[in-house]
Every structure is written in structure tokens, then in C-alpha cells.
Symmetry: C4
Subunit: 194 residues, 4 copies
Amino acid sequence: SFSVKGTSADYVYAPFRIYKGRAALSLSPVLPTFTKLESGGLVVGRSGVVMLKFTPAIGERKYDWEKRQVFALSATEVGSLISLGPNDSCEFFHDPSMQSSNAGQVRKSLSIKSHADGSGYMVSLTVVNNLLKTKENFIVPVTAAEFAVMKTACSFALPHIMGWDRLMSNMPTGVGVGRQQSKVVPQLLDEWDR
Amino acid sequence: SFSVKGTSADYVYAPFRIYKGRAALSLSPVLPTFTKLESGGLVVGRSGVVMLKFTPAIGERKYDWEKRQVFALSATEVGSLISLGPNDSCEFFHDPSMQSSNAGQVRKSLSIKSHADGSGYMVSLTVVNNLLKTKENFIVPVTAAEFAVMKTACSFALPHIMGWDRLMSNMPTGVGVGRQQSKVVPQLLDEWDR
Amino acid sequence: SFSVKGTSADYVYAPFRIYKGRAALSLSPVLPTFTKLESGGLVVGRSGVVMLKFTPAIGERKYDWEKRQVFALSATEVGSLISLGPNDSCEFFHDPSMQSSNAGQVRKSLSIKSHADGSGYMVSLTVVNNLLKTKENFIVPVTAAEFAVMKTACSFALPHIMGWDRLMSNMPTGVGVGRQQSKVVPQLLDEWDR
Amino acid sequence: SFSVKGTSADYVYAPFRIYKGRAALSLSPVLPTFTKLESGGLVVGRSGVVMLKFTPAIGERKYDWEKRQVFALSATEVGSLISLGPNDSCEFFHDPSMQSSNAGQVRKSLSIKSHADGSGYMVSLTVVNNLLKTKENFIVPVTAAEFAVMKTACSFALPHIMGWDRLMSNMPTGVGVGRQQSKVVPQLLDEWDR
């Protein structure tokens, strides 16, 4: 496994941080969780995400961490982000209370708009909370270089938040065609064997 | 090795799923199998694939898993998919009974056609079975963002389904030029040594 | 961990070297350091970089390693480098004594300028030292092929110098949603659970 | 380490093979070798390559493995290959006896020429051996999809043949800034600390 020898660290904090005048933006991947099946296999439980955190500035290089708001990008939203061209824009809408009695009361929208000259993007989050009668807005200008880091890091993270690195890593350690075949779902063999 | 410490999971299920109105599409990589040579080396037995599974809808958000059909993309077909531009299309034909007495009786064709406006692709599978006198058709519209996930995940998976991650991982753990050289096929040395 | 079994090597030297007539340029990644938190987690201490080293030539294929100068590319500067188009240029400025009493006394500037015909880049480092009254200049022409190696290697290295490979690798080895949830910061759950 | 648990395999054979009418082409990465320094570090000894092997056809789907010729792509040549556009071409020349008394007697040239319609490439190897008075020529047409596999697999392999995966993997397992700093070459600290 990838675990660090000699340490018992449970979590690693390595967000990519962009500190700007009005707000700070940080990105970090959150891995999926897995549930063990009776058959012995693992199935993805909660999907992984790339978590964006926005924090408002309250002075020069000072940020109010209590007022942080988060936006969790799904695999498909990460797909949007990494395929964004220098003149493209995109917008995502989340309802954190979806499928609860509070559905529709809080609306989050994340917008990524390219600058007209291709020099970067304006990333903004708006959170409208009808329960608290609040509306918060965070704006972080992101340079083309910073966005290149976001794209490369998100492309690296994407297979991991999908759990595909586990598909790779949990390969049977035994060797030989025979052992492998015995585990193949029979209905797949006709196609696989072509 | 990559195996998960503390678990004995044999398989990890982490397909990328696209649920649409008429059918669902899922992708997952299937690793190659290896056979041990008498010399102690490993050689790829069955090649890895990226498995596509199509399932027809039978109501709102309900799919008939019994009627699932699969299509296994080879490394070269994955190469086609990941190099597809926003206005490109491609089509693959498989005969799952090739080289058997039923050759030609079942024909599968997978088509990936870009929308005219570059907003995504129409992915469809047709399975014609002359033995059962059936013809099935699955159509899944895929957005540009979903296709970006497919491309990134397939690019990640490609070296793994080819077995190249094993080439990397099985590097001799010994250190020093001498030990390495003794294992090099002599005829390669003139080129390698240049 | 990735460490090599059977060896106790602490460091691996594998710079990518470009030897040219007037100077040599080498690149190698330097990983971030981590600090252990009381909570048991790890946090990035010093960020990782891609270290560029310039060495002046003092004869045919002879370089004066004593006169070497270094320039450490941050994650965002690596983002600039890997997103550089064939006709693009960029320039970075560093003050190695920033935030000390010698601030402003030594200025380093790295310039990457594309050739007009797209055949490669001119990479140059200038180091002006007001304390020593010196000005050094290193110029290394880099072909398109060499720059492609630099871009691919830096793209590979970027998630590692950011520490994102650790985020991936230190995944909890336990299985099951329950255990995972207990570690999630409560305020994140509403977004994560959407 | 990446080694396969429960096996003692020394080598993994997983070449990417392209069989065509007149010749077959296979690609496989060859990892660098490392030499242990007295200081305990590892330094790259022989650089890694991507090995191309050409085999002439002697009938339908029959190849004469005795007449195989090889061409080892260096990191920079791999950089050329992976940055080749759909209408680009490149050519490399090797002298396997360079720096020996036979220098210049055997000349190998590898040519990758794009088809005019962008549908793929013609890959050919010519080996002129003045000692044996022979000239061999191998021609393999490569489709765009096959070339996409070559590019993706070579991009994956590049950091590994450079030894950069080892730079990543051999990270100190200890935690904390103090321990790390004690191993940093002092002259680097001023830049690194900026």
C-alpha cells in the first residue's frame, strides 16, 4: 500500500491555496469511501470529490476562517473544469439539502469565467440561504498559471476520487491465467474473450 | 505492492456510471492477466480492456440489469477514444464468437458520434444476434464534461491495461549496474549501450 | 510506501540534464516536507519545488560546478511552465533573501522565451548580487523535444511537489462508511452529502 | 515498493505490439539502473529508454524473430515522439558503436512520417551495416489510434525511464522539518528557503 512507513498519520493536509485580496480559495481532493461486500469485494460507497473552500478576507493577508464556505466538485464537474479552454466558462449549482425537508432553502452556485484576454479566470461562489436570510459572495481571480496547477492537480486526482486507483492496486497478486479466470463473471467472458 | 493493508478484498467495484433516460453506460478497467515463465519472468496472458456496459431503462431511474450488454475496448480502441477531438467520431466492430463455429452470428458495433455543436457525444451500442434473431440498441448521450472524465480515466487506465505499470513496478530491487547487466539480453546491449 | 526494498538509500539523484555550449541546465523535483500534527495528521511544512540548476561551461563539455546557480520553481511557476505554448514566453523573479535584512540585495530572474519559429526555447537565468557586486548570466537553448521532456516530467512531478500524492496514499486502510464519517469535519458534511 | 507480493518475478514482458503486413513493431520501456553512492544515495547509472523492436514478416502473420533490429529511444527522443502533432514528422540517427573502433560502421535511422491526411504515421527503421555490407529496412504503418497508445504509454513511461518515480518514492519516511533540513545541501537552502 501507499501508506507511510513509520508514521501513523491518518490525514494529510496539502491543499492548493490561492490567496487573493478579497478571498482565499483552496482545493483538496477527498477520496471515496469503500464498503466491503459479503463476496469479499469492495464497492465505492460515497464518491470522492475535489473540495473547494472559499474564505473571505478581513484585512491585508487576513482571512476569516469561521466564514468559510465549501463546494464539492463531483467527478463530472472536475471533468468540466479540466476540459475548460482559455476562453471557456462554466457554472455549477448545488443544493446541499437536496432530498431533505430543507430542499431549495440553500443554493450554492460556483462560476468559473475566463477573462476576455485569456489571462486567467474569475472563480466565484454564491451561497443564498433562505433560512438565515443571507447571501454570501466570494470572488477569487485565478491566473492562467494557477489554473494550470488546478487542472493538472485535478487531472491527477480524478482517477483517485473515482476509485480507479484502487481498481488498479487491488489486482490479484497471484499469477497465472487459471486463477484469474475463476473470478471472472461468466457472462463477461464471451465479450472479453473475443 | 498496491494492495490494501488490513483488507482481503479481491475486487474493487468503482465503475464510472452515466445514467440517462433511455439507457445507462458504465466504464471500468479490467487489468491484464500474467503468466509466469520458467525463466521467472511474467508475460501478459490476456490483455486488459476498458469494459463498457450498457443497460436499458425500464422506467424513471430504473434499469433492467438482466438485459445488460458489454463491449470491451482494447488498448488501441482506448487510444481512439482518448484522441477523439470535439468534432470527431469513431466506430468499432466486435464479433464475440470470432474464431469459433459461431463466428459472424453475433455482431456488436459501438459508435461514438460528436454532436454538431461540440457539446458532447452520442454513444450507442448495437448488438445483432442471428442465433436468437434479436437486435438490441442502446443510446446514451454523453456531455462534454462526462466525456472529459471518460478520456482522463481511460488515459490513466491505458498503461495499466497494457501491463506497463507492472513493467515499472517489478524493477529489480538490487542496486548497481553489474547486477542489472547480467540480465540484459546480450543482443540488446549494442543498441542500449550507445 | 514507495521505498525500495532491500536498500537503505536516502536520496535518489536523477536530474534531467541539458548540456549546451555555454551552460548546462538540470531539473529535479524536491518533495515537500510534512509536519505531524497533534491530531495525528500530517500537514505540508515546506512546499516542494522543481529545482533548476545552471552551470557555466569552461571548455568543451567542461562545466564549473562551483559556479552553479539554482532557481526553485514553485507549484504555480511549474503551472506556468507546463502551460507554455510553442510561441509563449514567461519570466519569474525571485529574491532569495526576501523577508531578511538582505532583502533586495540579490535578484534572480528566470526567462523562458520561445524561438520565433517554434523550434524551442531560450532558457536564461540572471543573478544580480549587489552585496558581491556581481552579475551572472546563464543561457541554455532548449529544443522542442527537450522542452517536451521538461513539461511531461514537471506535470508528473507537480502533484508530488504539492503533496497530493500523499493525500492519495494515506487513505484510511479501514473499510466502511461508518469509520470514515467519524473523521469528517462536521461542517463539511452538508456539502459533501449533497 | 511496487513489487508483486507472492511472486518472485524478475521481469515483466508487456510490450505494445503492432503487427502489420511487412513488419511488426513492439515498444517497451526499459528502466534506468541505479548505483549506490557511499553517502547512501542512489544515482542513475545507465539511463532508461523506450525500446523499439522491428521484426520482418516472412509470410502471413509470420515474423522472423532472428532478424529483429532494435532502436532505443532516449528520454529526449521520447519527448519528440510524444509532442509530435498529427502532421509532424521526425527522424533520429544512432550509431550503436559510437566511441568504439567501429564507430560509423553501423548506422541506424528511425523515421516517423505523418500521412498527408493525418490518419496516422509511417514508422520505419533503416540499418546500414558497412562491416557486413548489409542494409535492412523495416516499414510499419501506424494508425492514429495506435499512435495515441504509443504517445500515452510513452508519456506514462517517461518519468520512469528518467528515474523520477524513484525521486518520488524514496521520500524520507520520517516526519518533520528538522530531519529533512539536515540532509539538504547547504548551498541550496538560500534559494529553497525563499
